[in-house]
């Protein structure tokens, strides 16, 4: 049993938005207009200390979205991913309030909370529907995990800044990188 995580190495991210494009393309069938599951944020843009980081659902072990959802539509997979059932979602928006990473998004933004079904990164693992079914493709997008592959964003990252995989494996890769960099200040960030 793996515990799947994302890790973004800010020393390597060059703000190319390749991960964003890869995600959009891979999950196109499920994405309504305006939904962007992954984004790159650059802090200190244009000044010293500029750094970019690719952000999407972090698949928290103790997920705040899951804690606040009135419908209990979130579930953890055996790979430690936080996924949700769009058939149960009522679009109340509580997960958006609770998520520290701004991952949950809604296709609409109307009065009376008419937001439509929440959408977020699935770690390219689909949803509760049958693997690779039409329903899964329409609601959740790709299911690469069922094919034994990692999420498209990390796979296509040109600088290998964005890592996806078992927490232990990717943190070991990252630790090794930090050791090579040599500077005692060159920890994450």
């Amino acid at each position: 049993m793996a515990t799947m995580k994302f890790l973004c190495d800010t020393k390597r991210c060059i703000e190319c938005n390749g991960c964003v494009t890869a995600c959009k393309n891979e999950n196109d069938s499920a994405l309504e207009w305006g939904i962007q599951r992954r984004r790159v944020v650059t802090i200190n843009d244009g000044v010293r200390g500029e750094a970019s980081i690719s952000v999407a659902c972090m698949h928290c072990t103790d997920a705040p979205c899951q804690a606040v959802c009135p419908t209990n539509c979130f579930y953890k997979t055996e790979d430690g991913l936080t996924l949700h059932n769009k058939d149960t979602c009522i679009g109340c928006g509580y997960c958006l309030y609770a998520c520290p990473f701004g991952a949950p998004q809604f296709p609409k933004q109307g009065a009376f909370g008419s937001r439509g079904k929440m959408d977020k990164c699935t770690f390219c693992a689909g949803g509760p529907e049958e693997n690779h079914s039409d329903a899964e493709r329409q609601k959740y997008g790709a299911n690469r995990i069922a094919e034994g592959k990692l999420p498209m964003c990390a796979e296509l990252c040109a600088t290998k800044s964005l890592l996806a995989g078992d927490a232990e494996v990717i943190s070991n890769i990252f630790r090794e990188r930090v050791a090579y960099r040599g500077s005692k200040n060159a920890i994450w960030g």
């Binding site: 944020v41 200390g49 804690a67 990473f101």
Partner: protein
């Protein structure tokens, strides 16, 4: 996030600051340090720094929003069980109380003479608030506590339909409830001001206890007794909190609340709901079962003369003295 909204969230932060002192506001914590060097990036992100992004998604320029994660446990571990207790617990307590204590009968029976007490308009605004209030309690309970107390016993499809229906009814019923709340609060406040004799009423629990030193007591009461006044002011205050927090949640596109403010609104909404629910149960029991002849007031607007003299003696004396006493023809 526009500046206007920042102002409002700051004001609200001050108001609820004492209750939620531990909650930090992400926007305020965001310290942009242009001289950041290695190792400081994480500290900045953790403090809620915002940056540039090509995404137009809501709040997407902030990688990490920081807030007090205890609000999550507050909902599941305290507020959800408390709302269940406020509804079902109060019903059980009241049923047991009536079994032991008995109800408050009219001593002289019904006189048959009906005294004018509420106008038709008063009766209608009462039900304008009351019917949505009952529906809001039931649907709100489903939304807050349903997943812990109901979902385990329901099928997946039925649960999905139930919670969807609960949300729709909750959203729509909020509007008539707020109108009813506003009208009742404004129009009825003058009869609900506390008086000295209300203290004595409280000391003998309104004379509703049928044993011990309280038995047979009939404390003075004006148009409203002390218990009704307490309910009125609780409803006025927590009705305001529940309406304001509800508006934030209902019209996010209008008020553009921050995520942290929305979470605080959720908590305040639940706390107010618990208090209003508990009071509502008492109010319903008092009117329908406990006080014989009480329900008539909110059906026809008239009350029996014996009921008036027994429960609202000062009011009855007053209208008799100043000639406003009107009988039903």
């Amino acid at each position: 996030m526009n500046n206007w909204f920042k102002q409002i969230s700051l004001v609200l932060a001050l108001v609820v600051g004492t209750m939620f002192s531990a909650l930090s506001f992400a926007q305020d914590a965001a310290v942009a340090n242009p001289q950041a060097t290695e190792g400081q990036i994480w500290a900045q992100l953790q403090a809620g720094a915002t940056g540039e992004t090509t995404s137009h998604g809501q709040f997407h320029n902030q990688p990490i929003n920081t807030y007090d994660l205890r609000v999550l446990e507050l909902r599941s571990d305290w507020l959800a069980p408390a709302l269940m207790a406020a509804l079902f617990g109060m019903i059980i307590i009241f049923v047991l109380f009536i079994k032991v204590n008995g109800i408050s009968k009219l001593h002289g029976g019904f006189s048959g003479k009906l005294v004018y007490r509420w106008s038709k308009f008063d009766v209608s605004i009462h039900w304008l608030g009351a019917i949505p209030c009952l529906l809001l309690i039931l649907t709100g309970l489903t939304l807050l506590a349903g997943r812990f107390f109901f979902q385990p016993y329901l099928g997946e499809g039925f649960w999905a339909a139930l919670i969807y229906g609960a949300k729709q009814v909750h959203d729509v019923m909020a509007i008539p409830f707020m109108i009813g709340w506003a009208l009742m609060t404004v129009l009825w406040a003058k009869n609900q001001l506390p008086k000295m004799y209300d203290l004595k009423w409280m000391l003998v629990v309104g004379g509703y206890i049928n044993f011990g030193p309280f038995k047979g007591k009939h404390p003075d009461a004006g148009f409203a007794n002390a218990g009704e006044k307490l309910w009125f002011w609780a409803f006025a205050i927590f009705g305001l909190v529940i309406s304001a927090s509800g508006m934030l949640l209902l019209f996010p596109n209008l008020f553009e609340p921050s995520r942290t403010l929305s979470l605080i609104a959720l908590i305040l909404h639940s706390v107010s709901a618990i208090i209003i629910t508990a009071f509502s149960i008492v109010h319903i029991f008092m009117a329908t079962v406990m006080s014989e002849g009480g329900m008539e007031c909110m059906v026809s607007g008239y009350c029996d003369e014996n009921w008036a003299t027994q429960h609202h003696n000062l009011w009855f004396d007053e209208i008799k003295a100043d000639g406003t006493l009107k009988y039903k023809k």
